[in-house]
Subunit: 320 residues, 2 copies
């Protein structure tokens, strides 16, 4: 089916990689077949999640990190979430902005995902595309989200190191940070550190991290950066490397890998379970009957949902 | 169980409403029991979703709308998503800021939901809390999200009218708007319209909406507002009222209500289905076995997930 692409992909052809990623992004059986075929080749790349507040300058930092890793002769893959243009229906901004820097360098592969109306969520799709880039042999993969939002927190499940990008904006204090961001950061970048009070902000952040530390685990680093000039980017990459060394020394890579597989399998099993449930004609008919009762106030949605699942249990026992 | 609270709630006691909302926010069986008991009383309130980009001034506008509806002698309920303080573990900012305005007015009931690590998502919890406020007899309920993010889009499923709040910020053009925001807006507020180029931004937005219009449906309004001074807030409320009248004239209230119930029941049934699945001991054991195969590369997570659900089907047919 996609064997021709797969062969070219394994031979290192960028166009084939791009095609396979498009199929994976669309999802469905073809996507699963490709991911299954590539699965034995996944696991070599180092994955770095870049998240944080909207407008913190994540894309600029990602550009700088790309250059840093390219200078070390490492190949780079990027999966970035992009706001969607309402007319093109595709990812627009990121590609346009970023391609300027890396255009023509075969060692950099950038893929934007439209964040538009995906049920699966960015983190799941991003993980799958990162798997393709991983199988393609990229050394480093950067996973970049556009902003806050609960789904984005999940990105750290599939990243080895998660970088949280913040800015010392006037009026914001560290206390008002969403706690999810605090919890997932292995490295914090205080970006736009040429702004006033950046040092105070970083210090405050450090004391907050200090307070949260428990025992002998990893001590998250805070690095001051200025994405636009590149200041602090080497230190940021150094902090990422320290975290990588920490994971390595403690033997935590394998643990992270198993945990990521566990999350992935749970999610996939639940998806397939739901498909199995809703394709049952009896259940669908029953649902409509019960909805009628709910809409006339005869029972609550909670009672109704319980009734439907109850009937599914019985239905299954009858072997239908 | 919570009968004492329920009685006081039905008698209009604010404290009882607050307690019931806390139980509902926690979730679980008690929450379901309360929502089931209140369900026959739900459906009278008009629900307005307020969403849009972070920093667009949504809270200030919500404050203004509260005052507007109070001036019309309508009672108001607010369910607002709040960023979570990492130490208090609770919702912090919104309550503090907003209470100043409405403090002591029994006609205003404000409830913040911590957006922290909730699996259910803000929109589901917000809908449930809005149901409580609805049963409590509030005339108007405002549902306010903190920012972008995919989950927030769902808020429009439970709102009658969805207001998208935008700002004419330098550098942003209308084209870069996330399309999800464009699609859910019944009314657009171009807030901070005292800024330069606000009129151009609003015009551009209007032409974009024009391009997207299909046939005879609702024509979304664009209203210029300045939350800090209150300018345009009456027009905003007027636009909301127009949309309400439109829904009423076209008989779309009932359709919206059934659609919301359908979404709710689907979500609840899937939750209960997953519980039923994972409480099966055989499945949990099988999952661990299969995870081992996946971690050693013997099969992909996709094959593994399919195998687990397959064994669930067989298991159920055996009637275990």
């Amino acid at each position: 089916m996609h064997d021709a692409y797969l062969e070219k992909f394994l031979a290192g052809e960028t166009l084939a990689a791009s095609r396979l990623m498009s199929i994976v992004e669309r999802g469905g059986d073809d996507a699963e077949a490709i991911l299954t075929a590539l699965f034995p080749r996944v696991g070599r790349a180092y994955r770095i999640g870049i998240t944080g507040l909207a407008g913190a300058g994540k894309s600029t930092l990602v550009n700088r990190l790309i250059r840093h890793y390219r200078d070390q002769h490492l190949t780079v893959g990027v999966v970035a979430e992009d706001p969607t243009s309402p007319f093109s229906g595709g990812a627009l901004l990121g590609d346009r902005v970023r391609m300027i820097d890396s255009c023509g360098d075969p060692g950099v592969f950038i893929r934007s995902i439209a964040s538009r109306g995906s049920e699966t969520g960015f983190s799941e799709k991003a993980t799958e595309l990162a798997d393709v880039l991983d199988a393609f042999g990229r050394d480093v993969i950067l996973l970049e989200t556009i902003g806050i939002g609960q789904l984005e927190y999940k990105i750290h499940f599939s990243a080895h190191t998660t970088v949280v990008v913040l800015t010392p904006d006037a009026g914001d204090d560290v206390q008002s940070l969403k706690s999810g961001l605090m919890e997932i950061g292995d490295v914090f970048s205080v970006n736009k550190s040429d702004r006033p009070a950046a040092r105070e902000y970083a210090d405050e952040l450090r004391s907050m991290i200090e307070l949260r530390l428990s025992g002998s685990g990893w001590h998250p680093c805070v690095v001051a950066t200025v994405g636009t000039t590149g200041e602090g980017v080497d230190e940021l990459a150094g902090a990422i490397a320290s975290h990588r060394a920490y994971l390595d020394t403690k033997g935590l890579f394998e643990e992270k890998r198993i945990q990521a597989l566990r999350n992935r399998m749970t999610m996939l099993a639940e998806e397939k379970l739901k498909e199995f449930f809703w394709e049952n004609e009896y259940i669908r008919g029953h649902f409509d009957d019960v909805l009628r009762d709910v809409s006339t106030g005869k029972q609550s949605p909670y009672q109704a949902a319980a009734r439907i699942v109850e009937s599914f249990k019985i239905e299954k026992q009858k072997g239908r």
